[in-house]
Amino acid sequence: MAAFLCVYLLGMLESLTDRMGQALRNLRGVGKLTEDNMAEALKEVRTALLSADVHFKVARQFVEDVRQAAMGQEVLKSVTPGQQIIKIINDELAKLLGEGTTGLADKKPLRIMMVGLHGSGKTTTSAKLAKRLMKDGYKPALIACDVYRPAAIDQLETLAKQIEVPCYTDRTSQDVPKIGRTGWDWAKEQERNLIIFDTAGRLQIDEDLIGEIKKLKDKIVPDEVLLVADSALGQEAVNVAKHFHEAVNLTGIVLTKLDGDARGGAALSMKAITGVPIKFMGTGEKTDDFDIFHPDRMAQRILGMGDVVSLVEKAQETIDEEEAERLAKKMQSNEFNLEDMLAQMRQVKKMGNLGGLMKMMPGMNGIEIGDREETQMRRTEAIILSMTPTERQTPRLLNASRRKRIADGSGVEVKDVNQLIKQFQQMQKMMKMMRGSKGKKMMKKMQSMGGMPGMGGGCGGLPGMGGGGLPRF
């Protein structure tokens, strides 16, 4: 059971170190994010954003904003400031990308106008959207308003047939606003309550054609105006989104061709410049290849630093600082019970490999922890789990018959249970000691010596821990 104590002590040290906070962190080098310790990582981030095609200015502004907000923030113990700022950038990126709702106006009938550059995916997306919203009880109709691209009407009509949705076409007219208006009336007659208007691709600087969608918009008064944009768009994404937004007041963006490997920085550019929410994404050529937009996935894709992000996430998840704080307080106030011990063991366990963990702890270098100790720890856990909550909270209730029951329940022998209880009592004693001035001195000594006196040979050699008291301290 020495290993258990060792682990336990470790958990406690963990809490204590938490409480000692700043001082210890400084031992490891860094406590807070500063201009200096973030600089290199931020440079890397900027390059990453630029190579993901985020607009130059957007990248610069974004990094600057995050840098300022992060300044002075505490650094988690097990990561470097560089890693932490990358994680912060990633989160801010996801936050920015995810601003606004992915939902469409909650209306029936609902009219949607699709706009965008040539070949961005408007026609395909019109069909995808119709198909998806059918599942939400909509009865869609598609209106073919692209009178320029050869066979654009056929394309929409073909897709409409595929998804079994009626499609309005007029091959004799070039008057797009009129086609739209007539199509709307037609759809109403058919009792359709979702009307999607597919328009021709156009350059955002083409005044005539931009004028055309403005007029179309006036006629059909859409509830949603969606910009369909290729996720591989370059720096011009900013101008594209800005001009379309100014012209027809976008209500959403659909990113297409995300089944490719474009990093998709254009998404950030467009979002940052217009504030228009990104609502959907196209993930293939088929009408089912469509999904609502996932900002967190997109953020990782743009930044391309998933490894670092998940590393920091793990550290954040496992070190539950509040819980550690709570347990430490309990230890100080003499209320510490078996329940808390279980909680603490679990915290330690969550952090993964115990051996690796030891190395992270100040003064615990060179202590070997292996499989045997892990097994013992599991056994201890099983014993505590076989106790009732009341028993865990008030260990002195544990009489012989209860101990027998617990041993049976956890598949160990009574002597193992006895040993655990004895050790718990010793621990309580130790804690009492540590609360005193002697304990504080010990902690200091450990720190300055860079090792725990008497622990050279592993936990087994921890003097006094098997018998009683902590004589050497």
Binding site: R149, Q155, T158, L203, D230, A232, E285
Partner: protein, 310 residues
């Protein structure tokens, strides 16, 4: 017909204020004004804004800065000339070779690329160009996948009065290529242009389909296709480089066509592609009409970018 240069410049003028300021003729850092540190900063922004990518942008800025250190009297126009010169150097050899069409009868041109990049439109434009030059041409409708792809290319063929070989939706695209070659041969056509379905470079199975087209063509002529051109959308960013790399690996490209340069995009990614793969750029697409296709000229491109007169 407007020249590439004037069309390009027109696009520039209509572009955002920043661009006008930097790349335009008047008042910007490339005007007669003296340069300063702030304008070099603006320059950096403009270069990134053109999708040049880190490498090319850095190279151009470094040279301008070196010149500026030597001569503090450097004016915007001089900086523009330096920038254009660096770019010309990078793009040396990027124009189509002379007499590129070759001797084969028919010379087979395959247009491939990601979805929506402009393959079909370019097929039509090229067909019309050859026809205008008095060369017999046949188009092959090898996109048998996308909705109404056949109708689209058929509309073009009718409009321009070009011979088209097509099959039905979901037919084997390689079989269409095979038949189209035979038709071109029978017609004594000089050129066969094959329009293929858009596909993302990341899709292995669709890449295999392309290879099959090649294999089948080679049953007729071992040297076919004589030209395998990637049609790149000029408004895309750095992913174009990845596209080119993958298509080149899978299919063996011989050149590029960059489309949609009639907008405000500078198509700077083509520089990155050229740097890496040294594939010549045969044509640029400048609009949706049949005549909106121009041979690529390094000089015109670089001058237009830096707001210099031809």
């Amino acid at each position: 017909m407007k020249s590439f240069f004037s069309k390009f410049k027109e696009g520039l003028k209509r572009s955002t204020p920043t661009f006008q300021k930097i790349f335009g003729q008047v008042g910007g850092i490339f005007s007669g004004k003296k340069l300063d540190a702030a304008s070099i900063d603006e320059l950096e922004e403009a270069l990134y804004g053109a999708d040049f990518g880190v490498e090319t942008a850095t190279e151009i800025i470094d040279e301008i800065q070196a010149a500026y250190r030597k001569d503090k009297e450097l004016r915007g126009q001089d900086a523009a000339r330096i920038g254009a010169r660096v770019l010309e150097r990078v793009l040396e050899g990027a124009e189509a070779p002379e007499d590129w069409l070759g001797e084969a009868d028919p010379a087979v041109i395959c247009l491939i690329g990601v979805n929506g990049s402009g393959k079909t439109t370019t097929t039509a434009k090229l067909g019309w160009k050859f026809k205008e030059e008095g060369k017999g041409v046949v188009l092959g409708a090898c996109d048998t996948f996308r909705a109404a792809a056949n109708e689209q290319i058929k509309t073009w063929a009718d409009r321009l009065d070009l011979r088209l070989v097509a099959s039905h939706h979901n037919a084997d695209s390689a079989a269409v290529a095979y038949d189209a070659w035979q038709a071109a041969k029978g017609d004594n056509a000089k050129v066969l242009i094959l329009d293929t379905a858009g596909r993302l470079h990341t899709k292995g199975n669709l890449m295999e389909e392309l290879k099959k087209i090649r294999r089948v063509l080679q049953k007729h002529d071992e040297t076919a296709p004589h030209h395998a051109w990637l049609v790149v959308d000029g408004s895309l960013g750095s992913n174009s480089i990845e596209q080119a790399r993958k298509f080149h690996e899978a299919f063996g490209l011989t050149g590029l066509i960059v489309t949609k340069l009639d907008g405000t995009s500078r198509g700077g990614a083509l520089v990155g592609i050229y740097r890496e793969l040294q594939l010549p750029i045969y044509f640029v697409g400048l609009g949706e009409a049949k005549e909106d296709l121009q041979p690529f000229s390094v000089k015109n491109y670089t001058n237009a970018l830096f707001g210099l007169e031809a």
